[in-house]
């Protein structure tokens, strides 16, 4: 009568993941159930196709970028540890963590790390700058065919102009986090 899902996940592994990501024991076993239900090939890893099978994700304009965030550089498979590590960025901050001593190493889901994660979704080549091209790429993914090249270009130019403070015609991480949130940004 044991639990089928967590017999495949050893207690030591759960403890390690708990330390690394901050998820609770029950959250980890639940997410492991989710992981195995997505793993159609039953080989302990997820491929990009496994993610694409989620209809709500497949119709998301930035779906491919989000999926890519789960896969380390150049790899095509992600195991459960990697899956949890990426999800850890979006774990809501618990009340008992808000007043933690900042001398401890920054937890994965701190506000800064969340923003860094979002920044990297724009900054594909990881040069710590969002260039005009990179911005245009993401814009194009979000609007599809509904806005002309010229108009999109001017939107990109305006955005860079407003955010760029050191005049290098691109947005660095510091400039990114200083952009005032428009009404509607959620408290992550």
């Amino acid at each position: 009568m044991g639990s089928r899902a967590s017999t495949l996940l050893r207690e030591e592994e759960i403890e390690e993941i708990k330390k690394e990501t901050g998820f609770s024991h029950s959250q980890i076993t639940r997410l492991y159930s989710r992981f195995t239900s997505l793993d159609k090939g039953e080989n302990g890893t997820l491929s990009r196709e496994d993610f694409q099978r989620i209809p709500e994700l497949a119709i998301n304009p930035l779906g491919d970028r989000i999926i890519n965030a789960f896969f380390p550089e150049g790899e095509d498979q992600v195991n459960f540890r990697g899956f949890m590590r990426t999800l850890a960025h979006f774990r809501p901050i618990e009340d008992n963590e808000k007043n933690k001593n900042s001398s401890a190493s920054e937890p994965l889901n701190s506000r800064t790390n969340k923003l860094l994660f979002a920044f990297r979704l724009y900054d594909l080549d990881r040069d710590d700058k969002i260039s005009r091209d990179e911005l245009l790429q993401v814009l194009r993914m979000m609007v599809g065919v509904n806005i002309s090249d010229e108009q999109l270009g001017s939107i990109a130019d305006r955005t860079i102009q407003e955010a760029d403070t050191n005049g290098d015609n691109s947005i660095s991480f510091n400039e990114f986090i200083k952009v005032p949130p428009v009404d509607g940004e959620q408290d992550y």
Partner: protein, 438 residues
Amino acid sequence: AEGAVAGAVFQVWVFVVLFLIMLPAMFGLSLGVTGVYIQVLVKILEWATVRIQRGRMEQPSVPVPLPNGIIERAGGSMEEEIGELRNSFALSDAFYFYKKGLESIVDDQVTQRFSSEELASWNLLTRTNQNFRYISLRLTIIWVLGVFVRYCILFPLRITLAIIGLSWLVIGTTLVGFLPENSVKTWLSELVHLTCYRICARGLSATIRYYNKENKPQKGGICVANHTTPIDVVILANDGCYAMVGQIHGGLMGVIQRSMVRSCPHVWFERSEMKDRHAVTSRLRAHVAAKTKLPILIFPEGTCINNTSVMMFKKGSFEIGGTIYPVAIKYDPRFGDAFWNSGKYNMVSYLLRMMTSWAIVVNVWYLPPMTLQDGEDAAHFASRVKSAIAHQGGLLDLDWDGGLKRGKVKDSFKEEQQKMYSSIIVGQNGINKDANRF
């Protein structure tokens, strides 16, 4: 002496099956045994629930099943979350898509419909034991007793009934088929079908409650219902006669289908005909137009869904014309998991699982008839009927296509999202109308 004992057991067996189960079933009577059985079961399951909850509090590491999904979503629409008609882009807009994307990776509304519903509390069947651990000795003993009762007492009984029921269907319909077309034949055919389905329902320990019988489908109409399992047919046919629609199979299924159609006009298609939508529609239309024929039974979802939601109704059934009689079917998951996961189990193993469950308890609501309104197209009508069924059955009303069980989602949905976002940041007038430039 052993032969005598075996003979006696067999006689008792035949007596029980024939007189205590089969004959009353055929006449729609009930001896009340199943009712008592269900009540006892409910008491046991309630006790088990309390016991498990107590056990959970003592073992906090066991995860609690969450009926509403495993994450809390900020369920706003795109307009609400990005900001209505801002006419400008902001870097933080991407956060909306990231958030929605990650939420769907952790828990989405669609893929969960193609596997069995997770129970709020274990119902003492091994197969539904997802995350339940050893709680107490008494619970384990009850579980063992349950296994014995289900596999050694109920299962042989149910198999016998199922075999009798199906054989009677084949033999009875073939015999009726020899009669000339007249009202006697029609009456006899209905009798054969009804009695056979009633025996089969007993063979599953099915307890069915029908609501609003005044809305029962009439001749010349089309009955549509949500689809969970092939057993839906048995459930509905226990209370009325329908003309079945479907593909003709080989093997045992084919034998049954071919004999059924001898006594009353069911609509069976060859595999090649199913692909031609016009041929299918015109045959169904002809059936409905002859107002004397039995109502057609159609499942517009096109595939089995796990009875927690109703998915998109294919508009083909709603283009035939005639009056639609919607029916909502809701199974009680505590007594057995009725959903047929055709990817995981074939028909035979599915039926075996059904016959070793506690019981099948199901509520059937007949909804008032609906017709196509002026200016309404088939797709909209289909959606309207679907919502009515979902509302009555307490099921979630989804617009997703049940075909997503096997196929990919259409690109047009992504394009819709992109269009919506574009109109937020540039307003309706800024949208590029010559989209085919790209």
